[in-house]
């Protein structure tokens, strides 16, 4: 390949630990495990507004039935993972570090796993808006981990076509192999999905980027491109360096374009989808199947690491049970060791964002040594793929000098964890950035709430003032009216007096004439 690749600064090379879960093929969870007692399907599984429930407790649902309707455009539908009875629509613990609960549809499976009627979507004859609606209603969201609603990204941009569509198969997080295995076992769906996206975005070229530590996937995907005679689609092996699979980093490596924070990548003529998402788009449009499952890796402190295709709502410990968690396991991490989240319980459900259940133990992920002061060695700055000065951000975040933190581009931080990974002082740098970001958001919310309150107050004052003026005007008008009436009455009485006087005068006159005659 003679394609010119670009470089991003920074990055790290952590131990990848991927081999363990590559030994066996992807297993369909249903084929190898008993049916879970219940599926707990959170309604809010994507970025954007939480979908509203469309079913009530006691109703029966079929597999693939819409159970959560998208809330506005920035939202995505949610579907029943199997057929059965809706046991409850209630708050359940979410797969998130916060330990918060959210509204879930709890389905008791009937064991038949019966599909709802579904048919391929005639997307070629549909308008772009209709295709986007179809993807939204099929619940397709980004499977790389960010779960951004995909329909919003199927967009050719201002110039009417994309220059480059990037399909992200880099999979740079340690331990995770779900994209690798999907590319090896199901390359056709990915390539076909990429071709659909190419046509929908009018992309001039499609580049599927895969880290070069996955030579099997690269070879199989290249063979699939040839076999399917997919036009303008190229498989590109990119250097293995975390976080090469970050969307911005991969776009940079493949095209040389740097998408600034807060800008849309389509403004630069590029867009990026995960390989799993491309496959899901193919399933949604060509097969009419909504997104009800995904491939995920179970790895870490387990005897038999493996990839499974798992329906959303399946309790995580049901999946891990198949892999033999070792006795000293003490946590589940959703995602990889660099960016994953520790789960509040082992029973939380698998959701669209669950690319990996990483089982951890104290031995595998020992607690960091005591945090030391920063010695400004600059290792973090060398490792930062966003070219930030992490130690400066740390300083400003810790001192709560949030204005300065934003000046030093805090919000360009992608929280990849490279800085904390290399820090010789063991400072949990990313935690400081998360803290600063949430504080800034909270303050902005507070400020906008205060602004709203102030506006309301000012509006009330204005309204009261207006009411007062109106009332005064009304009263004045009324007073004027009364005055006018009085004046009229007075005028009337004056006129009557005149008349009487005139009459009296006439009478007197007549009397005088009579007397004279």
């Amino acid at each position: 390949m003679s394609r010119r690749l670009f470089n991003f600064n920074g990055g790290v090379k952590p131990p990848y630990n991927k081999e363990a879960s590559l030994g066996e093929a992807i297993a369909d969870f249903f084929a190898v495990a008993p049916m879970p007692a219940e599926f707990v399907i959170p309604l809010h599984q994507s970025v954007g507004g939480p979908p509203h429930p469309l079913v009530k407790a006691g109703e029966t649902v079929k597999k693939g039935q819409l159970i959560g309707g998208p809330d506005g455009n920035v939202s995505s539908a949610v579907h029943a993972s199997t057929s059965g009875r809706v046991k409850a629509v209630e708050m359940r613990l979410m797969p998130h570090t916060s330990g918060l609960s959210a509204l879930c549809v709890v389905i008791e499976p009937d064991g038949k796993d019966e599909w709802i009627d579904h048919a391929p979507v005639p997307w070629r004859s549909m308008s772009p808006g209709e295709v986007r609606d179809a993807l939204r209603d099929a619940g397709v969201v980004g499977l790389g981990g960010a779960v951004f609603p995909s329909h919003l990204k199927v967009n050719p941009g201002k110039q009417g076509h994309l220059d480059t569509l990037v399909i992200n198969g880099a999979e740079c997080e340690p331990f995770i192999t779900c994209d690798d295995m999907q590319m090896r076992q199901r390359p056709d769906g990915i390539i076909k999905g990429a071709a659909i996206l190419r046509d929908l975005t009018q992309a001039k070229q499609v580049l599927i980027g895969i880290e070069d530590n996955k030579p099997e996937a690269v070879a199989i995907m290249r063979a699939a491109v040839d076999r399917l005679q997919a036009e303008r689609i190229e498989i590109v092996a990119v250097p293995t360096r975390y976080p090469a699979g970050g969307a911005k980093q991969l776009i940079r490596v493949l095209t040389g374009i740097e998408v600034a924070h807060g800008k849309r990548s389509t403004d630069y003529g590029v867009q990026c989808f995960n390989t799993g998402t491309a496959h899901a788009i193919h399933d949604a449009l060509e097969l009419g199947r909504p997104m009800i499952s995904r491939i995920l890796t179970v790895a870490g402190n387990v005897d038999r690491p493996r990839n499974f295709e798992v329906r959303f709502g399946t309790p995580m410990n049901d999946v891990v049970a198949l892999c033999g968690a070792r006795p000293d396991s003490d946590r589940y991490i959703m995602g990889g060791p660099m960016m994953g989240y520790r789960m509040p319980a082992e029973t939380v459900p698998v959701v669209k964002a669950t690319n990996c259940i990483l089982v951890g133990s104290k031995a595998m992920f020992p607690p960091p040594p005591p945090e030391m002061p920063c010695i400004r060695c600059g290792e973090c700055a060398k490792a930062c793929p966003s070219d930030l000065a992490p130690f400066e951000l740390f300083w400003f975040s810790r001192a709560k000098i949030f204005g300065k933190a934003q000046e030093y581009h805090l919000f360009d931080c992608i929280e990849c964890g490279c800085c904390a990974y290399v820090c010789p002082a063991n400072i949990p740098l990313v935690d400081y950035y998360r803290f600063a970001k949430s504080e800034i958001w909270a303050r902005e919310n507070e400020k906008s709430a205060a602004d709203t309150a102030r506006e309301r107050y000012e509006f009330r004052l204005a309204r009261e003032e207006r009411d007062k003026l109106e009332k005064a005007a009304r009263l004045a008008a009324k007073a004027a009216e009364t005055k006018a009436k009085l004046a009229e009455q007075q005028a009337d009485s004056a006129a009557k007096k005149d008349l009487i006087a005139a009459a009296a005068a006439r009478v007197a006159d007549a009397e005088n004439k009579t007397n004279a005659s």
């Binding site: 040594p369 030391m372 400004r376 070219d387």
Partner: protein, 335 residues
């Protein structure tokens, strides 16, 4: 338990970094002993003990975990740098006091590890050369390696006039740039017993030891190439231009690079992460600034060597340099 990612980290520590810096000083120390005897080892022992004791005392006064911070190695780096910049036959109380001031006042009263704006060893040097200029300029002559005499000089009565000699920088400054000066560079080089092939006799080899250790630190990625290159490049450039313009009045570039504290400064002082600039361009500016000031102080100043004063002057400028040289972040390169 740790709740947030990343869940694993590279096996690096501040202690590891500091130990590498200490290891990188070993070649120069070995050469030092070879030419000037074991006095330097006594000084290193004295400053090390003083630094650790002072650090332990101030840490416990500040309610900090003593064991963790004492083992980070940073106090030892300061101690060794003080020992290596002071005359090896300086009296024990001089180096011990200097070390205690460096650790307690310059490091910990400013907030401790990572917080001090000034290089502790350099402040210690400046303070002592101002307070005790005579003792701070008594450097042993090459060949003065007698252990008993050295011990006596450090701990006992000081009868060392016969044992010390003017350093090359001293000789040049008094010979060329004082009002009564009338010598030429070549004349001084020829007459001075303290001159070696390029720099000071013996000292030029110690400079080689610093160079070796510094290159190893670079290879280990503990220090950047930027400060040493900018420092030596600037110093040699200025010295080169001056000596080309007036060869009788100004010493040449190689002499400056291999004399006094230049090599130590290039690899071990300007590269101090805590008190130096942190941005790529900032590191170049900082080290170049130190070098320019060193040449000016050496040539026209009241003190023979200027590494310490130059470093402190540039330490003051670090916040400004860092602020002005922030590199563009990802996606904002055209801004």
């Amino acid at each position: 338990m740790q709740a947030n990612s990343p869940f694993f980290r590279r096996n690096v520590s501040i202690q590891g970094v500091m130990l590498k810096v200490l290891a990188a000083l070993l070649p120069a120390i070995a050469v030092y002993v070879w030419f000037f005897g074991t006095a330097i080892l006594i000084q290193i022992a004295l400053t090390s003990i003083a630094a650790l004791a002072g650090e332990a005392l101030i840490l416990s006064l500040r309610d900090k975990p003593v064991a963790i911070f004492l083992s980070d190695g940073s106090a030892l780096v300061t101690a060794w740098l003080i020992a290596l910049t002071f005359p090896p036959i300086a009296p024990w109380w001089l180096t011990v006091t200097a070390t205690l001031i460096a650790i307690i006042v310059v490091k910990h009263l400013y907030g401790g590890l990572g917080q001090n704006p000034f290089n502790p060893a350099m402040v210690a040097f400046c303070l002592m050369i101002v307070a005790y200029p005579q003792m701070m300029s008594q450097w042993p002559a090459v060949g003065f390696t007698d252990f008993a005499a050295q011990v006596a000089a450090i701990f006992g009565e000081r009868h060392i006039d016969a044992l010390v000699m003017a350093t090359p920088l001293d000789a040049l400054r008094t010979g060329l740039h004082t009002p009564e000066a009338h010598a030429t560079v070549a004349g001084i080089f020829g007459a001075g017993a303290s001159f070696g092939n390029i720099g000071g006799k013996g000292w030029e080899w110690i400079a080689g030891g610093y160079l070796l250790g510094g290159l190893w630190l670079m290879q280990q990625r503990v220090i950047s190439w930027r400060q040493p290159v900018a420092f030596l490049g600037t110093l040699m450039l200025i010295a080169g231009i001056a000596s080309l313009a007036a060869p009788d009045r100004f010493a040449g570039p190689l002499f400056h690079a291999l004399t006094g504290g230049a090599m130590l400064g290039a690899f071990f002082i300007t590269t101090d992460p805590i008190t130096g600039a942190t941005t790529p361009r900032g590191k170049l500016i900082f080290a170049a600034g130190v070098a320019a000031l060193v040449w000016i102080i050496r040539t026209f100043g009241a003190y023979p060597d200027g590494i310490a004063f130059a470093t402190l002057l540039m330490n003051i400028c670090v916040p400004l340099i860092d602020m002005a040289t922030q590199p563009p972040v990802f996606g904002h390169k055209e801004d």
